[in-house]
């Protein structure tokens, strides 16, 4: 299994991933100037989720979550939900990166090419195995932190305090809704951590990963609002990308937004790869044929590419449905899964 350091780093990547392209702009538009409060409530709920995650990992020990859910109808239901979570996460990753790449960089390239490129990266990572992949993202972690620090330090000079006012002028429902958006977008990829368990891991490892990931998201929110102000931040589809265009280091390093975006894409690829692993585990549990499993990943990614292009990228209203309601779906799936797992544990105790 992976080391404690790798565990924290993986959790950090997972926490951040879905905010790119979806959650950040949705959170800002729903909660307005109260998005920090929603984020803080979301982090608080995330800490409770991390505790449950830690508890489940302690109980199931070294087993994978699919192997742990071995008997009964709730196990079957749990596996189906795990499969769905994997599909939703991979779809989110493919849609958000391909839409963004199509909008900003590859405006003439057919979206299917962009999606296939992403699928190939995920496929290659899968072929290298979990350990190899986690080692790769561990190596990329300092780059992620360094780029975050570059962003934060260069942007703080551009933040205007008056952009934060009027303080917390959102209604209670919007703040609650925002907290749910934050919570759903952090815990759903967090579920993928159920595949990594070791008796060495402690609750504080989960907390470290969560706070590190959430902290960076919170600071990005502060920067977006501080630079653009709420009316403009609400208008933008990719505010986290737009502020990157403003990076200016020591008055001579400029126009490096394309390089800085790599970190956001890596976050998403981590989720894409781990979601594909999860789906493979579930399928492997149902279909015991080795030949089928050998071809499964390629087949699954190909199907997901077609769904991404045909259902979403070619139909913007569908993307908007995903944008507005996906968090409710994810929240429903994750909470049902946690309920089922806890019930399974209770049954095992008896």
């Amino acid at each position: 299994m992976i080391t404690r350091r790798q565990y924290i780093i993986t959790y950090y990547y997972l926490i951040r991933a879905l905010f790119f392209g979806t959650a950040t702009s949705l959170l800002v538009s729903v909660t307005g100037n109260a998005c920090y409060l929603s984020a803080i409530i979301g982090i608080g709920l995330g800490l409770i989720f991390s505790l449950i995650l830690y508890y489940i990992n302690k109980v199931k020990k070294e087993k994978k979550i699919v192997d742990f859910l071995d008997k009964g109808w709730c196990s079957l239901l749990g596996k189906i939900i795990l499969f769905l979570i994997g599909v939703v996460l991979l779809n989110d990753v493919l849609v958000s990166i391909s839409t963004m790449a199509y909008a900003f960089y590859l405006v003439s390239t057919p979206v299917i090419y962009i999606t296939i490129a992403l699928a190939l990266v995920i496929f290659y990572a899968i072929k290298k195995g979990v350990k190899g992949f986690i080692r790769a993202i561990e190596i990329l972690f300092p780059l992620s932190i360094a780029i975050f620090l570059i962003k934060s330090t260069t942007f703080f000079g551009m933040v205007h305090l008056e952009n934060f006012k009027p303080w917390l002028n959102s209604d209670t429902f919007s703040i609650f809704n925002g907290a749910m958006i934050y919570f759903a977008n952090t815990i759903t990829p967090g579920i993928l951590m159920l595949n990594f368990s070791n008796s060495d891991y402690e609750y504080k490892d989960n907390v470290k990963g969560l706070l590190l990931g959430s902290g960076t998201i919170l600071i990005i929110l502060v920067l977006i609002i501080g630079i653009y102000g709420m009316p403009m931040a609400k208008m933008l589809r990719y505010p986290e990308y737009m502020i990157l265009k403003k990076v200016n280091i020591l008055n001579f390093i400029e126009n490096i937004e394309n390089f800085l975006t790599i970190v956001l894409i890596i976050d998403n690829i981590v989720v894409g790869v781990l979601a594909t692993f999860l789906v493979r585990d579930v399928v492997k549990d149902f279909i015991k044929s080795d030949t089928f499993i050998k071809w499964w990943d390629g087949l699954f990614l190909a199907i997901m590419c077609v769904i991404c292009v045909k259902v979403f990228n070619n139909h913007y209203p569908n993307i908007m449905l995903l944008y507005k309601y996906e968090y409710i779906l994810m929240l429903g799936l994750v909470l049902s899964l946690l309920g089922l797992i806890l019930w399974h544990i209770k049954r095992l105790d008896k």
């Binding site: 405006v107 003439s108 390239t109 296939i116 190939l120 008056e162 002028n169 653009y228 102000g229 403009m232």
Partner: protein, 353 residues
């Protein structure tokens, strides 16, 4: 399998589908928008060409114009006349004629902000007494590309009216969409066959209301901290302002503007000795009064063109959004306090007379 993946990776991961050679693209340096019963859009195209054999590379520019009922029609009309793929990522300036700015800028801003091919880091200016296409065609002695010349004037020159990174297009739009503040743009004009920036144009909502006088434009630059080293005059005395700050607050039904700045003595018209600390206090008091008067004058003149470029209404909005209403900034009582701290005398103690 590995060979198949390698082949697919070569095909899909190289990112060459959108690739274009430099000679296939037309680099747009600036866009000019004019209005005369229809929109007239001018594109400044920058080409790097050798003029003749053995010559060093010379940058040439060409201006292509399109016309249309709406801004987008005119924009597209200009684009189809370009024989290469227009490349807007290096765009530096957007020039609006007085007529286009008076007609309204919301449609233009909306289109340019939404269009992903256009980088949002350009500056927007208004042309005064000259058409944008004429400005874009100017070949200055020091800079052959008009848009680059304008950027240098805005950022690097010793002009009193400068614009900072804070005034790039997306941040300008962020000001435009805020409640209680109107946008102000630098205005371009021809001064002795050279492009010059001498005034600030004030807007109300999306329409140009008028141009501020040069002295008011400089005061506005000082208040908004756009430029260091602006010189303030009082009779024969001159000081250079730096470290300027403007604090705005809403108290007891009135907006209080408190301007503080440090200043370096540039010129004194009497025989004084700068070893005497009293001279600093005297000059500080004198220039504080001058600044206070200038700010009051600026407020009076911005109100005369019904433009709240100082964001007086926004001060009220931020204090209490429920009290805020449209145009409140144009009518609210304003108290002005200015404190200029003259604290540097250069490298001499005495005045040569």
């Amino acid at each position: 399998m590995k060979k198949i993946i390698l082949l697919l990776a070569c095909l899909f991961l190289c990112g060459c589908y959108d690739y274009k050679e430099l000679n296939q693209i037309a680099i747009i340096g600036g866009i000019g928008i004019d209005y005369n019963e229809e929109y007239i859009v001018s594109l400044e195209i920058i080409n790097d060409k050798k003029t003749s054999e053995g010559d060093s590379d010379t940058i040439k520019t060409a201006v292509i114009t399109g016309r249309g009922k709406g801004f987008v029609d005119a924009f597209n009309d200009a684009i189809i006349k370009v024989d290469r793929d227009p490349y807007f990522y290096q765009m530096q300036v957007l020039l609006l004629s007085e007529e286009a700015a008076t007609k309204g800028i919301s449609e233009i801003f909306d289109y340019l902000l939404r269009e992903s091919k256009i980088n949002n880091s350009f500056y927007t200016l208004v042309t005064k007494d000259i058409k944008p296409q004429d400005i874009l065609e100017v070949n200055s002695i020091t800079e052959p590309v008009a848009s680059t010349k304008i950027i240098k004037l805005l950022q690097d020159s010793s002009s009193d009216i400068k614009f900072k990174k804070d005034d790039e297009f997306d941040l300008l739009v962020s000001t435009y969409v805020k409640d209680g503040i109107d946008i102000a743009l630098a205005s371009l004009e021809m001064d002795d066959k050279e492009i010059a920036i001498n005034h600030i144009a004030g807007f109300k909502g999306d329409r140009l209301q008028g141009f501020l006088r040069q002295s008011d434009s400089i005061t506005y630059s000082l208040l908004t901290n756009k430029s260091d080293g602006i010189q303030l005059h009082s009779g024969g005395n001159v000081v250079s302002i730096y470290g300027n700050k403007l604090k705005k607050e809403f108290k007891d039904g009135k907006v209080i503007l408190t301007f503080t700045a440090d200043a370096t003595i540039a010129l004194v018209d009497e025989q004084v000795n700068f070893r005497d600390e009293e001279i600093y206090n005297k000059l500080s008091e004198e220039f504080s009064q001058v600044m206070e008067k200038d700010i009051k004058e600026l407020i009076k003149n911005t109100r005369s063109i019904e433009s709240d470029i100082l964001g007086l209404g926004r001060v009220i909005y931020l204090d209490n959004p429920n009290v805020y209403e449209d145009d409140i900034g144009l009518n609210v009582e304003v108290e002005v306090k200015a404190e200029i701290n003259v604290n540097k005398n250069g490298i001499t103690f005495e005045v040569i007379r």
